[in-house]
C-alpha cells in the first residue's frame, strides 16, 4: 500500500515537472535567452566584402575599436595649405581669390562658436581643439565630442550613427561629418519620399479600420 502511494507521488511529481517547463528552448524570456546563449560571433558571415570599396581607418576609443570612413580624400580642396600658404590674418584683404563663399556657419550661436573654434588660422591643414591642440581631419569626431559628449558615448557604443555595410563584423560606422554638415549640422525638413495613394483612397472611402 505504502509503495503504491509512493509511486503515485513520484508520477505526480514527474508530471508536474514536465508541465511546468513548457518553454520550448528552456528560456523564460528573450533576455534570458540572449544572456544564456551569448557568445562572441566567429561565424562565416562578414561585412568585409561589402566594405571593400570604402576607404576606412581603424580607431580605438576607450573599449571600442572599429572602422570609420577616411575623410581627407573626400574633401575636395584638401590639402588646405595649397591655398592657405600664409596665416589667415595675412591673407585677409589681399587680392587673393575669394573662397568658401558657400559656407555659412549655422552651428550653435555666434557667441559660442566661430570659425576659429575648430580651425586654426595659423595651421589650416589640421583642426584645432578648444585648448589649441591639433587634430587630424580624419579624426574630426574628436572635435565634435568636446561639446556633444552624450552623442559621443552613444556613437562609440553604436546607438548613434549609421553603420556602413552590414551587421556582421567587422564593425564600420559613419563618423559625425558623414551625416552632419559640420557648418550646419542639423537635419533639414523635407517632403517624405512617398505617399500611399491606395491608403489615401481607402481612407476617404472610410474603409480604413
Amino acid at each position: 500500500m505504502k509503495n503504491r502511494t509512493l509511486i503515485y507521488y513520484v508520477v505526480l511529481l514527474l508530471g508536474i515537472s514536465l508541465f511546468s517547463c513548457k518553454e520550448k528552448d528552456g528560456y523564460h524570456s528573450i533576455s534570458d535567452k540572449i544572456e544564456g546563449e551569448s557568445r562572441p560571433y566567429h561565424g562565416n558571415l562578414s561585412s568585409e566584402d561589402l566594405l571593400m570599396d570604402t576607404e576606412l581607418i581603424q580607431i580605438t576609443e576607450g573599449e571600442f575599436t572599429f572602422l570609420i570612413p577616411e575623410r581627407k580624400g573626400q574633401i575636395k580642396s584638401f590639402a588646405c595649405i595649397e591655398c592657405h600658404s600664409k596665416p589667415v590674418s595675412q591673407m585677409k584683404g589681399t587680392t587673393a581669390q575669394k573662397a568658401h563663399w558657400d559656407i555659412t556657419l549655422n552651428h550653435a550661436n555666434s557667441d559660442a562658436m566661430d570659425c576659429a573654434t575648430c580651425h586654426n588660422g595659423e595651421d589650416m591643414n589640421s583642426l584645432n581643439t578648444l585648448t589649441g591642440k591639433n587634430i587630424d581631419f580624419n579624426l574630426s569626431y574628436k572635435l565634435c565630442a568636446q561639446c556633444h559628449s552624450s552623442q559621443f558615448e552613444d556613437w562609440k557604443g553604436g546607438a548613434h550613427g549609421k553603420k556602413v555595410a552590414g551587421w556582421a563584423p567587422p564593425r564600420a560606422s559613419n563618423t559625425c561629418v558623414n551625416c552632419h554638415n559640420p557648418h550646419s549640422p542639423s537635419f533639414e525638413t523635407r517632403w517624405p519620399v512617398q505617399y500611399n495613394t491606395q491608403k489615401g483612397i481607402e481612407r476617404k472611402e472610410g474603409l480604413d479600420h
Partner: protein
C-alpha cells in the same frame, strides 16, 4: 533530386536515357509506341502531356492560393474527369516514354508545375529538397519570362539571433525605409502594399495609434510631432505561428518569423492573431513591373508571391543571411534603425539594449518582440 521525396513525382521521361529501340516501357503487347497515329483524334505525345496535366492540376496552374483552396469546383463530373486524368497520366507517362523528344519546353513546364504542386512544406524539407524547389522556381521563371532570377535557400547561421532597435528621437519621418522596402521585397505595386508604417504622433500624447497618421504628406518633421515605425517585430513567442492551421509560418533558428508562400492556404488567422499589424495579405495577384523586380531572392523572403497568400517583413532574409543589413536600415538617412546579432556581446544592438532605456510595444502580452524602441 533526392530519391525519398515527400511528394509524388511525375516522370514524363525527361530524365530517361534512351531505351533500346523496339521496346516500350509500357509493357503492353498491343497498341504501339510508334509515331504513326492510328485514330484521327489521337493526340501527339506533347499534347497528351499538356492535356493530362491540365486535366488533373490544370486549375491550380493558373490560379493562385486563395482560389486554389476555396474555389475548387468538385462536382461528380469533374471529380470523375480528374480521376481518369490521373490514371491516364500514370499510364500515359509510361506508355509514351520511348517516343519522347527531350527538352521540350511545355513538357518541362508541366513537369515543374507538377513537382511544385505536390512538394512538401519548406519547413520539413531537407537541404537537398530545398535546393530542388528553388531550382524549379528559377527554371520556371526563366521558362515563363525568358529572364533569370537568382534564388537561394540559405539556412539560419549558427550563433545568430536577429534583433532590431529603433531610435524614436532620430526618426524624422522621411519614409526612405518604406520605399526601399517595397523595392527590395517585390511588394505588390497595384495595392501599394507596404510592410513598414511610419506613424506621425503628437508630442506629449504618447503612443496613440488611433490618433496617429501613417499616411501624411507634408514637410517633415512637422512641428510638434514625432515619428515611429512599425513592421513585423519577429516575436520570440509569436502568436501568429501558434494559430496557423497548416504550419505555413514558423520561427527560424535565427529568430526570423517566416512564411512558406506555397504552403499558406490564405485563411488569415495569423493576421488576426498578430497584435502588431505585422502581416499583409494579397487580396489580388501581386504585380511588379519586370524591370523593377529584385532578382536577388530567397525562398522565404522576397520571391514573387501569388494571390491569396500572406506575407510580411522578413528582416530581408535574402540580405541578412548574407551579412548585410535589411534594406530599411541601409536606406534610413538618420541612423534611427539599428540591426544586429543579439547573441554577439560585441554587437551594437547589444550595446543599445544594455545601455539605453529600451522598451517594446505591448510587452505585457508576452509575445517577446525582438524589436526595441529607445530614445537618445
Amino acid at each position: 533530386m533526392s530519391e525519398n521525396k515527400k511528394w509524388y513525382s511525375l516522370d514524363l521521361g525527361l530524365n530517361k536515357t534512351k531505351k533500346s529501340s523496339g521496346t516500350c516501357g509500357c509493357g503492353n503487347a498491343e497498341g504501339s509506341c510508334s509515331s504513326t497515329p492510328k485514330k484521327e483524334e489521337e493526340l501527339s505525345p506533347d499534347e497528351f502531356y499538356e492535356a493530362a496535366i491540365n486535366a488533373s492540376i490544370g486549375e491550380e496552374r493558373h490560379k493562385d492560393g486563395f482560389d486554389q483552396v476555396f474555389d475548387v469546383k468538385m462536382d461528380r463530373r469533374s471529380a470523375f474527369r480528374k480521376l481518369t486524368a490521373s490514371l491516364l497520366i500514370g499510364a500515359g507517362a509510361v506508355s509514351t516514354s520511348c517516343s519522347v523528344t527531350t527538352g521540350d519546353k511545355s513538357k518541362e513546364k508541366a513537369q515543374i508545375d507538377w513537382e511544385e504542386q505536390f512538394k512538401g512544406n519548406y519547413k520539413l524539407m531537407t537541404d537537398e529538397e530545398k535546393q530542388g524547389t528553388i531550382e524549379r522556381l528559377m527554371r520556371s521563371y526563366e521558362l515563363r519570362t525568358d529572364k533569370n532570377i537568382s534564388m537561394t535557400a540559405e539556412n539560419a547561421a549558427e550563433d545568430v539571433l536577429f534583433g532590431y532597435a529603433f531610435n524614436i528621437s532620430k526618426c524624422q519621418g522621411y519614409m526612405n525605409c518604406v520605399s526601399a522596402c517595397v523595392e527590395e521585397n517585390n511588394q505588390d505595386r497595384n495595392s501599394e502594399m507596404q510592410y513598414i508604417r511610419i506613424h506621425e504622433m503628437k508630442d506629449g500624447e504618447g503612443f496613440k495609434f488611433d490618433k496617429a497618421d501613417d499616411n501624411y504628406y507634408h514637410e517633415v518633421p512637422a512641428e510638434g510631432h514625432f515619428y515611429m515605425g512599425t513592421q513585423c517585430f519577429h516575436c520570440d513567442n509569436p502568436p501568429c505561428v501558434e494559430v496557423c492551421p497548416v504550419q505555413a509560418t514558423w520561427k527560424e533558428e535565427d529568430g526570423l518569423v517566416v512564411i512558406d508562400y506555397d504552403w499558406c492556404v490564405g485563411c488569415r488567422y495569423c493576421m488576426a492573431a498578430c497584435p502588431y499589424d505585422g502581416r499583409r495579405f494579397n487580396w489580388s495577384k501581386p504585380e511588379v513591373p519586370e524591370n523593377e523586380v529584385n532578382k536577388n531572392q530567397h525562398y522565404l523572403g522576397n520571391r514573387m508571391r501569388k494571390k491569396g497568400v500572406m506575407e510580411k517583413c522578413t528582416f530581408c532574409v535574402q540580405r541578412t543571411r548574407k551579412g548585410k543589413n535589411p534594406a530599411c536600415v541601409e536606406a534610413c538617412p538618420t541612423g534611427a534603425r539599428i540591426f544586429g546579432n543579439l547573441l554577439d556581446p560585441k554587437s551594437t544592438i547589444r550595446w543599445v539594449l544594455e545601455n539605453k532605456k529600451v522598451f517594446r510595444l505591448k510587452e505585457d502580452l508576452g509575445t517577446e518582440p525582438k524589436f526595441w524602441y529607445f530614445m537618445d
